[in-house]
Amino acid sequence: MAHVKINGLRKDYGAFAAVRGIDLDIRDGELTVLVGPSGCGKSTLLRTIAGLEEASGGTIEIGGDVVNDVRPRDRDVAMVFQDYALYPHMSVARNIGFGLKARRMPKAEIDGRVDEAARMLGITQLLDRYPRQLSGGQRQRVAIGRAIVRNPRIFLFDEPLSNLDAQLRDEMRGEIKRLHQDLATTMIYVTHDQIEAMTLADRIVLMRDGLIEQQGAPLDLFERPASTFVAGFLGSPRMNFLPGHLVRTASSDAIRLGSSRMPLPAGRKLRDAADGQAVLLGLRPEHLTRAHGAAPQPGHVRHDATIELIQPTGSRSYATFSLAGTAVMAELQAHDVSRPGEHVQIDINMTRASVFDLQTERAL
């Protein structure tokens, strides 16, 4: 158990900077998810924490000690790799016990710990097999077993579920979360999958081009994204972005989209924004609903729509229509719409809307 503190961390590969100055404070026992699109430097950051890459600048502290010059084995971290990285020439039992053996733990104690880890993960019957005789999900469990058997200060996961099929992925995701609840050890988990990030994290660190774009609790990021990048990355289907202009009055603010005026709720005063400023209005699909009743609820704006495309998922139907010239997707109830070309009324929940500066793409 340990907290991790990262200050101004950089990692250059020749002239290319993969990580460009990261400050991060990870509390003891927290499950932090590093998420971001492929190539944004998540793995590089994780590998630098593990000691597999040497930092080009900045410091890494684990449990209060600067570990920049400490070799991986002495950092007391365990890592689960994307391709599992099991040792193909060793049985499952030897794979799991390998790290303990390398640290010269007595054999009896190794066996005890391996058995216990195997029991926790339900792989006791696999101990004598070799990695090539295991399915993807079983290999994954062995890889996790190899990490937990060491009882390290920190767990590092690099996209551990990305090689599994969808169903197994959901199952293992739940197991990893349960594992974290049981062990209460600091975990840093890398993924490019926003669902994994949202469901697992105590805290999400969203990265972009080697920098942190925003960090915070999952719902904070989801509900108060700092930029269009964050807003677009989290949530599926993606947030709709509509270009418009800000209309400021003494009492309240509104967004003008073509001929429509979309008032923001009274309490929502935008900072540092000028009247007439070009903005992007961000509307999540789940905040557009089929109109019911004579008048919209407070804070909602009612709008006519002609449905162009319907994508039913069973529980929901994604309906695409045009709003002030921009194609917009709404997440409706399964039976709200039945065919393309249908004319309906949509209520837009402006209390949940985001507003971004069109130029800087930062939230207003």
């Binding site: 593990a50 000691g51 597999l52 070799r71 991986p72 084995r73 950092r75 971290v77 365990a78 890592m79 790799f81 994307q82 391709d83 599992y84 990285a85 099991l86 040792y87 193909p88 020439h89 390998f98 790290g99 303990l100 390398a102 640290r103 990695p131 090539r132 290999r139 190899r146 060491r150 590092l156």
Partner: protein, 282 residues
């Protein structure tokens, strides 16, 4: 897979005769010279060039073997060759593996060192054998086992390094990295993870090195004389003033084939895997 198989079947079925003929021709092409060598090694001298040729000697004899091994000192050459080739092979595989690992995993010497290693083979042997000869004379390595072992180790190292370099490079790094995080030193990760996984590649490189040493003639000719001479140099003696000793040459050739074939059979499995650089995923 099944589509490929069924697409092939009609072709195979329609051509059995052609196929058998082709295979038969190929077999003769490969085996006839070997048979003729064996045949020559056991026939009396008068039958060497007889017309019509003698396919099955009426009175097979081992005199040529006896002469080649003892009178012409072939046995000594054989033993020298075994000692020198085996020692050089082990050293070459050892240093080659270590150097290749360092090049592949730690990028030692940047991009230039690895190419420089291979470029050593671009040098014609004649360009180095004379200075080596003079140096060996000066420091007492001329015509010694140690001298030949050193020469052959250096001579086979570039290819060993390159084969192993290619092998390590296609091996995923993550298993060694897992070992480092798990608790290994770099040396432990190399020894207990990288080495076992690289075994097929090491065996392939060693077989190549051994064959290169076993058949090498030029260095042996210049760097040895009466004591550390190797098997290939013995063959010089069979073409002399009083005509060629075909039987003795054939007998010694058969003897020199034995280790190569034995090695080939032993290493066949590893060799193919090593040469195709088959991935070793878990």
């Amino acid at each position: 897979m099944s589509a490929i198989r069924s697409a092939r079947r009609p072709k195979g079925r329609s051509l059995p005769i052609g196929r058998i003929l082709l295979l038969g021709f190929f077999l003769v092409f490969v085996l006839l010279p070997l048979y003729w060598m064996f045949n020559t090694s056991i026939k009396p001298s008068d039958d060497y060039l007889a017309i019509p040729p003698v396919w099955f000697p009426a009175q097979p004899t081992l005199v040529h073997y006896e002469a080649a091994l003892f009178a012409y000192r072939g046995l000594e050459g054989l033993i020298n060759s075994l000692i020198i080739s085996l020692a050089a092979t082990i050293l070459s595989a050892l240093f080659g593996t270590l150097m290749a690992y360092s090049l592949a995993r730690y990028n030692t010497g940047g991009q230039h060192l690895s190419f420089w290693v291979l470029s050593q083979r671009f040098l014609p042997p004649i360009g180095i054998v004379l200075p080596v000869f003079l140096i060996y004379r000066g420091i007492g390595l001329y015509d010694t086992h140690a001298g030949m072992i050193i020469a052959y180790t250096v001579f086979t190292l570039p290819v060993s390094v390159w084969m192993m370099f290619a092998y390590f490079r296609q091996m995923p790094k993550s298993m060694e990295e897992a070992a480092l995080v798990d608790g290994c030193t770099r040396w432990q990760a190399f020894w207990s993870v990288a080495m076992p996984l690289a075994a097929p590649g090491i065996v392939a490189a060693a077989v190549f090195a051994f064959i290169a040493c076993w058949t090498e003639f030029f260095f042996a000719l210049v760097l040895t004389s009466r004591s550390a001479f190797t098997l290939p140099t013995v063959f010089r003696a069979f073409i002399g003033f009083q005509g060629a000793q075909y039987g003795e040459a054939a007998a010694l050739a058969i003897v020199s084939l034995v280790p190569s074939i034995a090695l080939g059979v032993l290493a066949q499995k590893h060799l193919v895997r090593g040469l195709t650089l088959g991935a070793v995923r878990g």
